[in-house]
């Protein structure tokens, strides 16, 4: 029996494996679906990765290579082109070029990352002509395959990948006509708004959505319109763009088909597993970290979180894991979710990551244990696009914890 199987060899999987190794575990296998380690970072050729971890700005492939090197230096085993088809506690089954392998293991870490929200969920009327891509697909086509996706582009959604692609395609010689965002604020990082849109005078239409796509064979035009507070298009506000390509950057979803099939309890808010402070899921010996758990905006936080999962999986494997009673962490009043959702009573210190549900200025994040306020942090600004965290140290977790956005 193996000690640890890590599913996914991207940013989270590599960091989890390295940290489990450094906590004393030697028999580790990373199972990766792609033809190389590094995951989605390999197609994220822009820079801005690693500022927290390495104190320098790296591109995605460079960031990945640092972690790949760390895994290689430790002699951590991996298998490529391997598709996991089934997980249950203490067993992972995958198909690889040499056949089907059933790997019995003491612990499992889920690090499958996320995928893009499918375009079917978008509900845009009209035909489905060629020239509609998700932003991530376009990113792979352009950066890895060297494919020319289009010349005149409209982007729906102002998530970071959409913004990054607006700049990327502009540099490649395309004309990005507009980025339409249905919300009154962008879901992307400020830095990307400035350096990907403003630098190239690409207009961002907030509170706008796509209402029509023209063209039967290939996209010939896209119409956007302003939306009211219920996100319904306002008649008469339409703007038409003549274009050959529409990119959709409408959000990411944790990739949990395998986890849900295995019976891992998932949160309806994050779409990822429900975890305790050890990042252990509802199933014995199965841990989760990175974008499979909740979608992150910075890869540095993915690595940080995955290292925690790796350390705890190591403790679990060594049998030094105490699983006592636990309390719940509740997200209320403007806090959309928290990770973890449970904390064991003996935890002592915990990092709680969370997101808020709207834009808040000059508010407080208030943490309560039962009815007692145990922490209050002033925040000049809170936005849904930026993941937040609070550190709780030396707390006796003998009552439920509540996080909220408050005026005082």
């Amino acid at each position: 029996m193996r000690e640890l199987v890590v599913i996914g060899g991207g940013a989270a999987g590599l960091a989890a494996a390295v940290s489990a190794y450094d906590s004393g575990i030697r028999d580790i296998l990373i199972v990766e679906r792609g033809t190389e380690l590094g995951g989605i970072l390999n197609q994220c050729i822009h820079n801005g990765f690693g500022l927290h971890t390495f104190k320098e700005e790296l591109t995605g492939p460079e960031y990945a290579s640092r972690f790949i090197k760390e895994a290689e230096e430790r002699g951590i085993e991996h298998v490529l082109g391997a598709m996991v088809i089934d997980i249950k506690p203490h067993c992972v089954t995958y198909v690889c070029p040499s056949g089907v392998v059933m790997e019995e293991t003491k612990a499992i870490i889920l690090t499958m990352g996320c995928r893009e929200r499918p375009r079917g969920a978008l509900n845009i009327p009209g035909y489905r002509p060629a020239g509609i891509f998700s932003a991530g697909t376009a990113q792979r086509l352009v950066n890895i395959e060297g494919y020319d996706v289009g010349k005149r582009i409209v982007i729906l959604g102002s998530g970071d990948i959409g913004l990054i692609m607006a700049r990327r395609l502009t540099l490649e010689g395309a004309k990005v006509l507009a980025v339409a965002e249905i919300m009154p604020y962008s879901g992307g990082l400020k830095r990307n708004i400035v350096q990907c849109l403003n630098d190239y005078s690409i207009p961002l239409y907030l509170s706008h959505t796509v209402v029509d796509i023209k063209g039967k064979e290939r996209v010939e035009g896209v119409t956007i319109a302003a939306v009211d507070e219920n996100r319904k298009p306002i008649k008469g506000s339409e703007i038409e763009f003549e274009c050959d390509t529409l990119l959709l950057s409408v959000g990411l979803l944790p990739e949990n088909e395998l986890s849900s099939k295995a019976g891992v309890a998932l949160s309806p808010v994050t779409n990822g597993p429900v975890v305790n402070d050890k990042l252990e899921t509802s199933l014995d010996g199965i841990f989760a970290a990175g974008n499979v758990l909740h979608v992150h905006d910075l890869v540095d936080y993915v690595s940080e979180e995955a290292a925690i999962a790796g350390r705890n999986a190591a403790e679990y494997i060594k049998g030094s894991f105490v699983e006592g009673e636990r309390v719940a962490v509740k997200a209320i009043n403007g806090v959309r979710y928290t990770i973890p959702q449970y904390i064991s009573k003996e935890a002592g210190s915990v990092t709680i990551r969370f997101r808020v549900s709207g834009v808040f200025e000059n508010k407080y994040i208030v943490v309560r244990k039962g009815d007692d306020v145990i922490k209050r942090i002033k925040k000049r600004i809170l936005t849904p696009g930026e993941m937040e965290k609070v550190e709780l140290s030396s707390v006796d977790f003998n009552d439920d914890i509540t996080l909220e956005v408050s005026n005082g």
Binding site: N42, I45, H46, N47, E57, L58, T59, P61, E62, S65, V142, N143, I144, E145, G146, R168, L171, E172, G173, L189, K190, R191, I193, V194, Q195, N198, D199, R380, I381, T383, G385, E386
Partner: protein, 120 residues
């Protein structure tokens, strides 16, 4: 006297910064909530710089592109001139991360370096 506006990118607050200047002389920076905004506005007005990241065509490799970046950052106004040169370039394996592909690209004084390895 002239005026320019910038959005500070150093934190999510995104302060709207207004710089008043006369030629190369900065008279005032307003709108910043902290000193980082002041520094950023001066830099953006007088000498904005960016790292350009892109890909270069390959020959003799199963990988069709290798990713690249400019080191150090180049003046913002030179971005498209640099891209012209990037687009004309073809490389062959082997390449390692950090290998210089073009010295002094488009006379900017910066190098174009590989950000991924390229094998055959």
């Amino acid at each position: 006297m002239a005026k320019s506006e910038f959005i500070c990118i150093n934190c999510p607050l995104g302060c709207m910064l207004t710089v008043e200047y006369d030629g190369n002389e900065i008279i005032s920076v307003k709108g910043n909530t902290c000193p980082r905004g002041d520094k950023y506005a001066r830099q953006e007005l007088l000498a904005p710089k960016r790292t350009v990241t892109s890909t270069v065509r390959t020959e003799g490799s199963v990988h069709r592109r290798v990713s690249v970046k400019t080191v150090p950052e180049i003046p913002k106004k030179d971005i498209f001139r640099v891209m012209e040169e990037v687009k004309r370039t073809v490389v062959s394996p082997p390449l390692k991360i950090g290998d210089v592909i073009i010295h002094d690209i488009a006379d900017t004084g910066s190098d174009l370096v590989a950000t991924s390895d390229l094998g055959e």
